[in-house]
């Protein structure tokens, strides 16, 4: 085989064999010939090499997240019968066919010379603890000895118990997505009448989380969505809460009353997405048959979802009109009898309290670029001698092991010198928001918090919030979706300006390529990420409703176990 007749597929197979460590003599000759004679082949090779390296990085992070560690352990041979690792299968340096090396950098630093191989490298090496951490220990220990500093005993921090769970959304190949962030509460069951649920009996006040599904076998139920929509569901009916502003109707009929501030609330069906433009409407689905929406008040926009090969369309449906699909891609807009529409509207009971309204709170770094200071977040306190004055927090470039920034939702923020924050120290972050026109008794404020290394305490207007503090600092520690925790703020809120302060604890760093790396008091990264979910009913309306305190029941609630394999929003 020569380069001149090698196609790209053959080249990719040879590259794959090289990456996998199974290239034989003939393959090696062919690959090297291609690389020698073709710049394009070298570029393809480089792209795969970069991908391979990046996949190693991602897998290391996943191992830190503990998602695949168990899986890897299952396929890892026991220590007594260690076979070469994927990395070791194909290559050994001369004179060390079986012995892998671990370089004790501390000793190298101390002696200033190369250290001979001393031990077999552990099968699962600790990527989390780079060599320079050990180097830093050397430097700082020298500095500490000279200055007569004492070092805190390691191991005094609490170690968080991680309970990873990954939720999978099954849709078509390459449109599947893996969710692992704890789902947020998005709605609450406000009232029921003669209901029988398919699975478990839900009580008024039950909180629904993103991704949760319900099936109503009998009766009628009213659900209040925090985003600002009241939903009346008639049995039989099956629906799913996709996100704060989207629900999916599988079958049955629902009526939706959407507040003006919640325009854009969407009901998703197999045939069409019904997007609210400030209105009251019904949506019905006959499983596998057809879907239709009737607008009782206002206007909606219907997006057909099953018309292939045609440009995207958004059809406006006005008050008193019904848009139907026949299940085969055809849509018909039929005017309705106005009296009938009014009667239907009169029969619907959306409650007298009015819908919930989200509170305008700023997630960390939302909408900003890396390096930007965040107008809504400040770091107002830090360790004496290091922290000089309050400053706006700025958006950080995520450290390895950090959840990537998502400017649309939230990003990591910290001080300017965040990579070298003082260990065993507390930094206080502050944000403010206004609560005007809300009935405080109905307020519910959730923060989804992610912090390197953890949260020590949270205060609202100076009053402590009940929070069980945590520090994430285990072997392979990562700060990803799984490390998000909910903090529920139920008290201490006032009308007008409110101040939330969050004490972030920066821990020590684990150093050394050993099984149980010790914690070392060296400067290390410290950052915070917060996503808010806050709702309340409008003042003056809420008093009349028995269900005004329903949101309080969400407190301390956790996502139901049934959601561990829920289907969620499409991407």
């Amino acid at each position: 085989m020569t380069d001149s007749n090698m196609n790209s597929h053959e080249l990719e197979l040879l590259i794959a064999a090289w990456l996998d460590g199974r290239l034989d003599d003939e393959g090696s000759h062919a690959l090297q010939n291609a690389l020698r004679t073709s710049r394009a082949a070298r570029e393809t090779f480089r792209q795969y090499a970069r991908l391979d390296a990046a996949l190693h990085d991602v897998a290391d992070t996943s191992a830190m997240l503990d998602l695949t560690k168990l899986a890897a352990a299952c396929v890892r041979p026991s220590s007594a019968e260690q076979s070469p690792t994927r990395a070791q299968e194909s290559s050994d340096t001369e004179g060390s066919k079986t012995e892998r090396r671990q370089r004790p950098f501390m000793q190298q630093m101390a002696k200033g010379s190369r250290v001979k191989p001393t031990s077999r490298k552990p099968i699962a090496s600790l990527r989390m603890t780079p060599w320079y951490a050990a180097l830093a220990v050397g430097i700082l220990l020298v500095a500490f000895l000279i200055r007569g500093f004492s070092v805190d005993e390691p191991g005094t921090e609490s170690i968080a118990d991680l309970s990873p769970s990954e939720k999978t959304i099954n849709t078509d190949a390459f449109s599947k997505v893996s969710l692992s962030k704890p789902p947020a509460p998005v709605a609450v069951l406000s009232s029921v009448e003669g209901v029988i649920w398919a699975d478990s009996q839900l009580e008024v006040g039950h909180a629904f989380f993103e991704g949760e599904s319900i099936r109503l076998e009998q009766g009628e139920a009213r659900v209040s969505v925090g985003f600002g929509a009241e939903i009346v569901a008639d049995a039989p009916c099956s629906l799913k809460f996709l996100s704060s502003d989207r629900i999916q109707l599988h079958d049955g009929e629902i009526a939706v009353d959407v507040a003006p501030w919640a325009a854009g609330f969407t009901v998703v069906t197999e045939e069409m997405d019904v997007v609210d433009l400030g209105t009251t409407f019904t949506v019905s689905v006959e499983a596998g048959e057809k879907a239709e929406t009737t607008v009782l008040r206002g206007v909606v926009r219907v997006h057909p979802t099953k018309i292939e090969g045609e440009p995207r369309r958004g059809l406006l449906v006005s008050e008193g009109q019904r848009m139907s699909s026949d299940g085969k891609g055809s849509f018909v807009n039929v005017p309705q009898d106005q009296d009938e529409v009014q009667k239907q509207l009169g029969r619907l009971d959306f409650g007298v309290t009015g819908p919930y309204r989200p509170v305008d709170l700023s997630n960390t770094g939302q909408g900003l670029s890396t390096g930007d200071e965040d107008l809504h977040w400040q770091v107002v306190a830090g360790p004496a001698g290091v922290f000089s004055e309050p400053q706006y927090a700025s958006v950080c470039e995520p450290e390895r092991g950090y959840l990537p920034n998502d400017p649309d939702v939230s990003q990591w923020i910290s001080t300017a010198d965040w990579r070298t924050a003082l260990p065993n120290a507390v930094y206080t972050f502050r944000t403010e928001f206004a609560l005007d026109g809300y009935d405080l008794a109905t307020m519910q404020l959730f923060g989804r918090f992610l912090a390197d290394n953890g949260i020590e305490s949270v205060r609202v207007n100076g009053n402590p919030v009940e929070v069980q503090s945590w520090v994430d600092n285990v072997k392979y520690q990562a700060f990803g979706d799984l490390q998000f925790r909910f903090v529920n703020i139920t008290g201490g809120l006032v009308s007008g300006r409110n101040v939330v302060e969050i004490d972030v604890r920066n821990g020590m760093m684990r150093t050394g390529h050993v099984k149980d790396p010790p914690l070392s008091p060296i400067p290390n990264p410290m950052a915070l990420r917060v996503e808010w979910y806050a709702f309340g009913r409008q003042q003056g309306i809420a008093q009349a409703d028995d269900g005004v305190r329903l949101w309080r029941r969400i407190r301390d609630s956790v996502p139901p176990m049934s959601m561990l394999s829920y289907a969620g929003p499409e991407i």
């Binding site: 990719e12 090696s28 990046a54 990085d57 990395a87 340096t93 950098f105 780079p130």
Partner: protein, 184 residues
């Protein structure tokens, strides 16, 4: 050992260390990616990266602030890799000197490394969960590929094909995403 007559300034040492670590954190992934294109195994990549890092620290006093740390570090890594290659056994996995020189010479500092990593994470999210888990198993630290293949219930050949198809799909996805961002 420290010479007692040359007592270092702890704060200056700390600042120097912080600057070094900051630069290293930023550029280490692209160095590993560069080395992966020369060295036969990830184990080799890790070893040479660590050796290059140590050399970089020892020579850090020579580094001129304001110049490109990435380029400087890449040069060190290139020399360290070459030195390491001399110690490698001759196997089909080790490229000839000619091919090695060609590959090493054409690589510049990978300024789009962080963007590529982000695109990869997005593309991984688009994979079905089974495929993603399979890839993570293959690339998890210390994993033995043929053992992962055995666990998957597929023949080794079929397994390697699946892995390659996934890599190929990811590469296309990443390239597309990078192109959309105006990067390449």
């Amino acid at each position: 050992m420290l010479d007692p007559s040359e007592t270092p300034d702890p704060s200056a040492e700390k600042q120097r260390y912080e600057l070094f670590v900051k630069n290293l954190l930023e550029h280490e992934p692209s160095i590993r990616a560069f080395l992966r294109g020369l060295l036969p195994t990830w184990q080799d990549v890790e070893e040479v990266t660590q050796e290059a890092s140590l050399v970089a620290w020892r020579k850090f006093a020579d580094f001129e602030e304001g110049t490109s740390f990435g380029g400087w570090f890449l040069t060190i890594a290139r020399y360290e890799a070459m030195s390491y290659r001399r110690r490698l056994a001759r196997t089909p996995m080790v490229f000839s000197a000619e091919v090695w020189d060609l590959l090493a010479a054409e690589v510049d500092e990978d300024e789009h490394g962080p963007a590529r990593r982000q695109c990869l994470e997005i593309c991984l999210q688009k994979l079905d969960a089974t495929s993603r888990e399979l890839l993570m198993k293959v690339y998890s630290p210390g994993a033995v590929m043929r053992e992962v293949a055995k666990q998957s219930g597929k023949s080794e050949q079929a397994f390697y094909k699946v892995v390659q198809r996934l890599r190929s799909a990811l590469l296309k996805c990443v390239s597309l995403a990078m192109a959309k961002e105006g990067l390449s």
